[in-house]
């Protein structure tokens, strides 16, 4: 005990005499650390060099993911649209993908695939390339966002009076994009409803509460009554999984009126989802009626709001 106290006293004396060397050492150490950190992240050419190896690893239906997520724009620049798509980037979730190919660098992980089983892992330059199998894989039976076209979808406004107004399909609408503070992009191909340019049904991409993309069906509610989207040829059985919301940046103050989304099948209400701005995008799941294998039915979505002004509502829906 006495010896320990003596040593401590000695260490204290040494520290009091030489502490300034520690401060002085920070300078060169910081210089070295700076150069280490400045060069540790892979550059564009290194991402480009991944293409052949990724081609060998990827199977049809796989999704390509990048960790850290902030590096994804580099991978998109390097690898291109063949590897990434609006559909994959703006996905509802990962359940539709049997496997994920993950490009990892800087020791970063993706929480989204933490539960996935690692099938293979290899070092490639400064990357770790992993193939991971999705334990929660659910084969996709229909992606309704892909079904926004006149051969699969009919859109009408049903007014409180009972009058029905058809929203007409066009492939020549004026494309609009509101920038940071304006509405999301309005597509050229869409169902245009009466009441204004934003009263449309078409595919757009909105930001959710994590500012992540949501590729979704823009379905602005009408001022009175409801907007009805009727999808034909929807397979029986399983569930409709979805998520709904508005641009989080524009609505996060929570001042907007709630929006109600009803899902109907075979004349029955299958479920109801209430959108509240402050919550951001919220998911929903509803069971579908079951019939014989291969048969289909009409699934409809009804969108309404007490106060429709500025309610740029959008939803995703998949049948699994």
């Amino acid at each position: 005990m006495v010896a320990l106290a003596g040593r401590l006293w000695q260490a204290r004396t040494v520290f009091r005499r030489w502490w300034w060397l520690l401060v002085l050492a920070i300078g060169p150490l910081e210089f070295l650390a700076h150069w280490y950190f400045a060069q540790r992240a892979p550059g564009l050419s290194e991402y480009q060099a991944l293409a052949p190896r990724l081609s060998a690893l990827r199977k049809s239906g796989d999704v390509l993911l990048v960790a850290p997520a902030w590096a994804a724009p580099i991978a998109r620049t390097a690898l291109g649209d063949g590897w990434f798509s609006e559909r994959d980037l703006g996905r509802l979730d990962l359940k539709r993908y049997p496997r994920a190919v993950v490009v990892k660098s800087l020791g970063q992980e993706l929480s989204e695939v933490q539960s996935f089983r690692v099938v293979s892992s290899e070092i490639f330059g400064r990357f770790t390339l992993e193939v991971r199998e999705n334990p929660g894989f659910e084969p996709l039976r229909a992606d309704l966002v892909e079904g926004v076209s006149p051969d699969r979808l009919g859109v009408t406004l049903v007014l409180d009076s009972g009058e029905q107004l058809a929203c007409s399909w066009t492939t020549q609408a004026t494309v609009e994009a509101g920038g940071l503070a304006g509405p999301a992009a309005f597509p050229r191909a869409r169902f245009q409803c009466p009441g204004g340019n934003e009263r449309l049904v078409g595919v757009s991409i909105l930001d959710d509460q994590d500012f992540r993309p949501r590729r979704c069906i823009w379905a602005h509610p009408p001022d009175n009554g409801y907007l009805e989207l009727k999808f034909q040829g929807v397979p029986f059985g399983g569930h409709v999984f979805g998520a709904a919301g508005l641009s989080y940046l524009l609505t996060r103050d929570g001042a907007g009126a709630n929006i109600e989304l009803e899902v109907w099948g075979e004349g029955k209400l299958l479920g109801r989802h209430l959108e509240r701005d402050v919550l951001g995008w919220q998911s929903f799941a509803m069971a579908l009626p079951a019939r014989g294998e291969g048969s289909t039915f009409e699934l409809s979505f009804r969108v309404r709001s007490e106060n429709a002004a500025g309610r740029d509502f959008c939803f995703q829906a998949e049948i699994r």
């Binding site: 300034w20 401060v23 002085l24 050492a25 920070i26 300078g27 060169p28 910081e30 210089f31 650390a33 700076h34 150069w35 280490y36 950190f37 400045a38 060069q39 540790r40 992240a41 892979p42 550059g43 564009l44 850290p68 902030w70 590096a71 724009p73 580099i74 998109r76 620049t77 690898l79 291109g80 649209d81 990434f84 798509s85 609006e86 980037l89 703006g90 800087l106 970063q108 004026t174 494309v175 609009e176 994009a177 509101g178 920038g179 940071l180 999301a184 992009a185 597509p187 595919v203 757009s204 991409i205 909105l206 930001d207 500012f211 992540r212 993309p213 641009s247 940046l249 996060r252």
Partner: protein, 557 residues
């Protein structure tokens, strides 16, 4: 006298050298969003100055003043007036600068550089030439200071003017001359006319005054008479300062009170913009209370902060009596404070400490906006570096004990100088042109900051780094969506030949051919619109800083 002359020469050399470095790197740094607005304001003020020269009575008419000075009247006039005069004389008339933008930027560079020189001068009078020189360079070589010092904005000029005013105030305490006091008042007026940070400065000098005089008030309780040491400069500041602001800001010449109120209201109730911090985007109170401290740690070289800590501890120890009981500490501290001569180095150190404390104080409140990142408290950095200079002096004294000869002492000093400045200089030089994306190794550099979710960039200045790609990829007459870059900034670049003359900057994404995107999380929805409108998620070009994407460009297929 010869020594004083030498110090002035070194200060001048430092300032000239710093301006030269800024000018040398200026063309790499794109025009920031706010610079575009200030260019526009400066052009309006320049037109008024021309009118004043040609038709003074017309220029002084109420409506005419309002017409020319209403532009950007939410900020005071000094810097924009200097931008205007620099543009008029140094670019248009005398052709000293090749580009208008460089001429607009020059006054801010000059004042920032003078700040570095003044820091050295003050240091030589208080902590010695070696520590002063190191402290001055530590200020100049903070990556974010170096970045802001380039811009035709107010953030570094206001930091420099804060330092100059404090220095002049301290000098006036030393010499107690009427001329000096009037000079402080005038300087404070210019400081007030630079940016609203100046509103805080009276708190620094009043706190300084109060601490050094506290025993006068206490004596009224104890009945021990003491004489109040009242600095005339304080009075000059409070009287001459507002008068100078009024005189040098024509916008205030008419409807003075309502316009002053509108100015104050704009800043006291400023809109909350978005800012990412530790993975979360803040856009309304409560703001994170750790913001200023974490961001300082993440962006100021650690060696500078360590030296500041040493300086701070040294100063605190000098005030605290040794070997006293707890109850006696306050009494001892009080008597030490009271015994500090007004114009002494110790009085200067107290002023520096208060300069740091008061300029950081607003971020003790969760109501204070954080959208400008570190530039909000740049005014604290000169004082922080002066205290770091105290730390340098302490360490140098320790190191000198190892030397046995003058030569050894000189070698040790040189090694010390190199060791302390190697990191800050290399980090700062490396940060050009992406100074706002630069982070220190304590958070793992730029990539570490991206992992932590710290702000990547703002103000849209990074577009400059993709002009070669824009010029190469854009079809003739193409429209370029500029995203967060102000159109005025883009057009300034175009006028200077950075962008092809046939191209047009636009904020209409739907009718653009190429689209820029500068990343901040809340801006992501703009990128999604680009995907929708262009039908591709693949950028045609991207600029990385240390492997971290800062700005990228889409081309309509």
């Amino acid at each position: 006298m010869r020594v004083v002359g030498k110090h002035w020469a070194v200060a001048l050399g430092l300032s000239v050298g710093f301006v030269a470095l800024l000018l040398n790197t200026s063309d790499k740094i794109g025009y920031a969003r706010d610079e575009g607005f200030y260019f526009q304001a400066a052009a309006s003020y320049e037109a008024w100055f021309s009118l004043l020269f040609l038709h003074p009575s017309q220029a002084l008419h109420r409506e005419v003043v309002a017409r020319y000075w209403q532009v950007n009247s939410e900020h005071p006039a000094l810097m924009k007036s200097l931008f205007a005069l620099s543009h008029h004389f140094l670019y248009a008339k005398w052709h000293w600068f090749a580009t208008a933008g460089e001429a607009f930027r020059f006054p801010a560079m000059l004042i920032s550089a003078l700040g570095v020189g003044v820091l050295y001068l003050w240091g030589t009078e208080t902590i010695g030439a070696f520590a002063a020189l190191t402290g001055a360079l530590l200020l100049g070589f903070m990556p974010q200071v170096f970045h802001h010092a380039h811009l035709a904005c107010f953030d570094m000029p206001v930091a420099a003017l804060s330092l100059m005013t404090a220095y002049a105030y301290w000098k006036s305490l030393r010499h107690r001359r009427l001329f000096g006091a009037l000079g402080v008042g005038l300087l404070y007026g210019l400081f007030l006319n630079t940016k609203h940070n100046a509103w805080l400065f009276p708190l620094v000098v009043l706190a300084h005054f109060a601490l050094l005089n506290h025993q006068v008030w206490l004596s009224r309780v104890s009945n021990v008479p003491r004489k109040l040491r009242f600095p005339p400069a304080l009075l000059a500041m409070l009287v001459l300062g507002p008068l100078t602001l009024y005189a040098a800001w024509p916008w205030l010449w008419f409807e003075t009170l309502p316009r002053l109120m509108a100015y104050a209201k704009f800043h006291l109730g400023h809109e909350y913009y978005n800012m990412e911090f530790l993975g979360r985007t803040y856009w309304k109170p409560p703001m994170p209370l750790g913001y200023a401290w974490v961001m300082t740690l993440a962006t100021v070289p650690l060696v500078t902060l360590a030296l500041f800590t040493v300086g701070l501890v040294n100063f605190a120890r000098s005030l605290l009596p040794r070997n006293v009981q707890c109850a006696g500490v306050l009494r001892g501290l009080g008597s030490k404070l009271a015994s500090i001569p007004f114009g002494s180095p110790k009085s200067a150190q107290l002023l520096w400490l208060l300069g740091v404390a008061v300029n950081y104080a607003p971020w003790w409140s969760s109501q204070t906006p954080i959208f400008g990142g570190t530039k909000h408290w740049l005014t604290a950095y000169p004082f922080l570096c002066l205290l770091a200079g105290v730390g340098v002096r302490v360490i140098r004294e320790k190191a000198q004990l190892l030397a046995r000869s003058k030569t050894q002492r000189q070698v040790l000093s040189a090694l010390l100088f190199a060791a302390l400045l190697l990191g800050p200089i290399s980090m700062t030089w490396h940060s050009v042109p992406f100074g706002l994306s630069a982070y220190t190794p304590i958070v793992g550099g730029a990539s570490g900051a991206a992992n932590l979710g710290l702000n990547r960039t703002f103000w849209g200045y990074t577009s400059r780094s993709l002009f070669n790609e824009i010029n190469a990829l854009a079809p003739p007459g193409a429209r370029i969506y500029v995203h967060d870059t102000a159109l005025q900034s883009f057009e300034q670049h175009q006028q200077e030949g950075g962008v092809r003359p046939d191209l047009e900057g636009t904020l209409d994404l739907a009718h653009s051919n190429l689209a820029l995107y500068q990343h901040e999380p809340h801006m992501a929805r703009v990128e999604y619109q680009i995907w929708s409108v262009y039908g591709t998620v693949r950028p045609a070009a991207i600029q990385l800083f240390d492997g971290v994407p800062v700005v990228w460009l889409y081309r309509r297929p």
